[in-house]
C-alpha cells in the first residue's frame, strides 16, 4: 500500500506552507525579533487572498488566469504587510514585549481569518461550511504539461505548481542574501548586537522594519499556498491548524538557514501526513498517537541542538530584546 512515489509529492506539497512560514520567521529572527505572530500572519495572508479571489471569481467578469493569480497574491501580501507593520510599530517603535505582541497578533489573526472566512461562507449560502475557489485554484495548481508523461521522475520533480518552485527559489535566494551580501551581513549585525551595528552607522529601525515586513509577507504567501494549492481552493475555518507554530519550530530545526529549511520542511511535511500512511486497521486511536510525530521530533531536535551547543548554531544574540539607543 505504501508507495514513496505518492507519498513524497504529498509531503512536499504539505511542506511548502511550513517552508514559507519558516523563511518569514527566519528573516524576523535575524533582525532580532522573535515573532510569535507568524501563525496569525499566515491566517490573515490566506484569508486576504481568499477574499480577493472570491470577489474576482464572483464579479461576473470572464476569468482570466493571470489576473486570477495576481489578485490573491497582491491581496495576501497587503494583508500580511499590515500585520507586519503592526508588529514593527509595537515592538520596534514602541519597544513592546515581542512575545506578548506576537501572541496578541496570533489571537487577532486567527480571529480575523475565521471571521471573514465565516462571513464569506455565509455569503455563498452553501450547504458545507467552506468556500470553494475552483477557478483560481486551477490557475494556481497548473503544472508543467509534460510532467504526467515523464513517469516517476516527472511525478517526483515536475508535478508541482509554480508556487512550489517559487517557494524553493525564495528559500535559496534568502539564504544567499543573508549569507553572501552586504545587506545580509548588516541585517545579521542588527540581530546579533544592535548597539554595535548602530555605532557602525547601520539604521537599526529601517533594517528591522524591512526584514519583519518582508518576512511577514513571505509567511502570508505560505498561508495562501495552503488554501489555494494544498487545499484546492477550499477555505474552511481553523483548517490551517497549527502549521504556523510548526513553521516557527522549523526555524530552530534549520538553525536559521533557509536553504536547510527546504529539506527539513519536507521532512516535517512527511511527518505531518505520515499517520495517513501507517496502516492501523480499525485501531483509529493509534492514528492520534502518530499525529504526535512532528511535535516529538521537534522536541528531540531542540534538545539535540542545545546539547551540541556550537557557536554557529545559536540564535541571534539579541533575539527577543528591544533596542533603545539611550540604554547603553
Amino acid at each position: 500500500m505504501f508507495s514513496l512515489v505518492t507519498f513524497i509529492p504529498r509531503a512536499i506539497v504539505q511542506s511548502i506552507p511550513l517552508l514559507l512560514g519558516c523563511i518569514g520567521e527566519t528573516l524576523n529572527e535575524k533582525s532580532g525579533s522573535l515573532n510569535l505572530g507568524i501563525p496569525g500572519v499566515m491566517y490573515v495572508g490566506a484569508i486576504c487572498g481568499v477574499i480577493g479571489s472570491f470577489f474576482y471569481e464572483n464579479s461576473g467578469a470572464a476569468f482570466n488566469p493571470v489576473i486570477g493569480l495576481i489578485i490573491p497574491i497582491v491581496c495576501c501580501m497587503l494583508g500580511s504587510l499590515m500585520m507586519g507593520l503592526i508588529f514593527c510599530f509595537l515592538t520596534v517603535t514602541l519597544r513592546a514585549n515581542q512575545n506578548v505582541t506576537g501572541l496578541a497578533m496570533t489571537t487577532f489573526g486567527v480571529g480575523f481569518g475565521n471571521f471573514f472566512g465565516g462571513s464569506i461562507i455565509k455569503l455563498t449560502n452553501a450547504e458545507v461550511p467552506s468556500i470553494a475557489l475552483s477557478a483560481t485554484s486551477k490557475a494556481f495548481k497548473a503544472s508543467l504539461p509534460f510532467a504526467g508523461k515523464a513517469g516517476v521522475f516527472g511525478k517526483l520533480f515536475l508535478s508541482y505548481s509554480f508556487m512550489t518552485y517559487v517557494a524553493i527559489a525564495i528559500a535559496i535566494f534568502t539564504a544567499y542574501v543573508l549569507k553572501r551580501t552586504r545587506t545580509g551581513l548588516e541585517l545579521r549585525a542588527v540581530g546579533e548586537n544592535p548597539a554595535t551595528a548602530d555605532a557602525a552607522g547601520i539604521n537599526i529601525n529601517r533594517y528591522k522594519y524591512f526584514s519583519i515586513c518582508i518576512g511577514c509577507m513571505i509567511a502570508g504567501i505560505g498561508g495562501l499556498y495552503y488554501v489555494l494549492d494544498y487545499a484546492s481552493g477550499v477555505w474552511s475555518n481553523d483548517a490551517f491548524g497549527d502549521r504556523g507554530w510548526l513553521a516557527i519550530a522549523l526555524v530552530i530545526f534549520s538553525i536559521w538557514r533557509p536553504n536547510w529549511a527546504i529539506w527539513e520542511s519536507m521532512l516535517f511535511g512527511g511527518l505531518y501526513i505520515l499517520y495517513l500512511y501507517i496502516p492501523t486497521g480499525a485501531n483509529f486511536a493509534m492514528k492520534e498517537i502518530y499525529k504526535m510525530l512532528p511535535y516529538v521530533v521537534t522536541i528531540i531536535v531542540l534538545i539535540a541542538i542545545s546539547l551540541r551547543n556550537r557557536h554557529e548554531n545559536q540564535p541571534p544574540e539579541s533575539l527577543g530584546l528591544p533596542y533603545f539607543r539611550e540604554d547603553r
Binding site: 513592546a96 487577532f108 471571521f115 519550530a249 498517537i289 504526535m292 511535535y295 516529538v296 531542540l302 542545545s306
Partner: protein
Amino acid sequence: MDKQKKEPLIHITKRKEISKKHEWAIRLGSILIALVVCAIITTITTHLNPISVYATMIDGSFGSERKIWALLKELSILLMVSVALAPAFKMKFWNLGGGGQVMAGVLATATCMITLDEKLSNGMLIFVSLIAALIAGALWAFIPAFCKAKWNTNETLFTLMMNYVATQIVAYYIIIWETPKGSGKIGIINPNTNAGWLPTVAGKQYLLPVLISIAVTIFMYIYLRYSKQGYELSVVGESQNTAKYVGINVGKVIIRTLILCGLICGLTGWLLVAGTDHTMTTTLEAGRGFLGVMVAWLAHFNPLGMVLSGLLMVFMSRGGGEISTAFGLNKSFGDILTGVILFFVIGSEFFINYQVHFRKSHRKEAADV
C-alpha cells in the same frame, strides 16, 4: 553650524518614575481609544450600531445571575492559569505550555474518574484524582524546565510542542474511552453516579472553583512578594549572572518554579473536569494557556492585577459569544476585538515607560533650565 536645526522632531527618554495615577490614566485611556477603534471596525465590517453591540456584550456578561456565575467561572479558571504562569515569566522563562500542563491535569483526572469510579469511595476518588492531576501537571512542566536548566534548551518552543503532545494523548484516550462507540467523544463522565464530581458548595455549582482560584491568587501574591523563593526567582529573571554571583542555584530555581507552575495548571485541569465540565475534549483548555500569558503580562505579573486584566479578557470572550448569537455574527468577532484592545494596551506600555518630547517642548524645557 546651527544646532537647533539638527535636532530631531521627536526625542524619547526613559521615565525615571511615574505616579500610579498617571500610569492608570494612560492604561485606561488606551483601552478607551481601543474601544472607539473597535466601534469603528464594528461599524465598517458589520454595519451594526456599535453602542448596541457593546450593550449586548455587557448584557451577555453581566445580564443575569446565571451569566454572572458563568463569567465568574471563566474568570476563575483563566485566573488560575495566569497566576500559574506568572512566576515563570517573572523568571523570564517563557512558558507557552500552560495549555498542555492543564491538559495533562485534565487527562489524569478523567483517567481516575473513568477507571477508578467503582473501586474507590467518592471522597477517595476525588482525592486520588487531585493528586494524579497535580503530578501530571507538574511532570509536564518539569520536562522542559529540566532541559532548560541542564542544557539551556529553548523553552518557548519546547513548552509549545508539549501542548500538542498532550492534546494528541488526550485525543488517543478519547477514542479509547468514547461513549457511545464511534461517536468520537466521551460525553459526560459518570452521569448517573456523579462519581468523582466535586460537591456543590452552598447550592452554587461554581462557588468552589471561584473560592479555590481566590485562594491560589492570594497564595501567589504572597509567594511572589514576601517569600524567599519568590525573591530568588525575580533575581534570576533580572539577571542570571547576579543570581549566580550571590549564590543562587539557577537551575534549581528554574525547576522549582516550573514545578509550582505545573502544579497549579494541573489543579486547574482537575477543576475543569471534576468541578465544572465533567467531560474531556481536546479543546477543553480553550486557548487559556496563551490567553493567560497576556493576562499575566498585562498585570505586570501581579496576581491581584490579573483579576482586572483577566476580567477584561473574559468580558471580551463572553461578550463576543453573546454578540455572535444576538446579531448572527461569527463567533471569532470577539477575537478580533480582543486583539485590537491588546494592541492598544501593549502599545500604551511605551508611554508609561518612556516620555516623548517634541522639539518645541524640548526648547521650552531648555529655556526653563
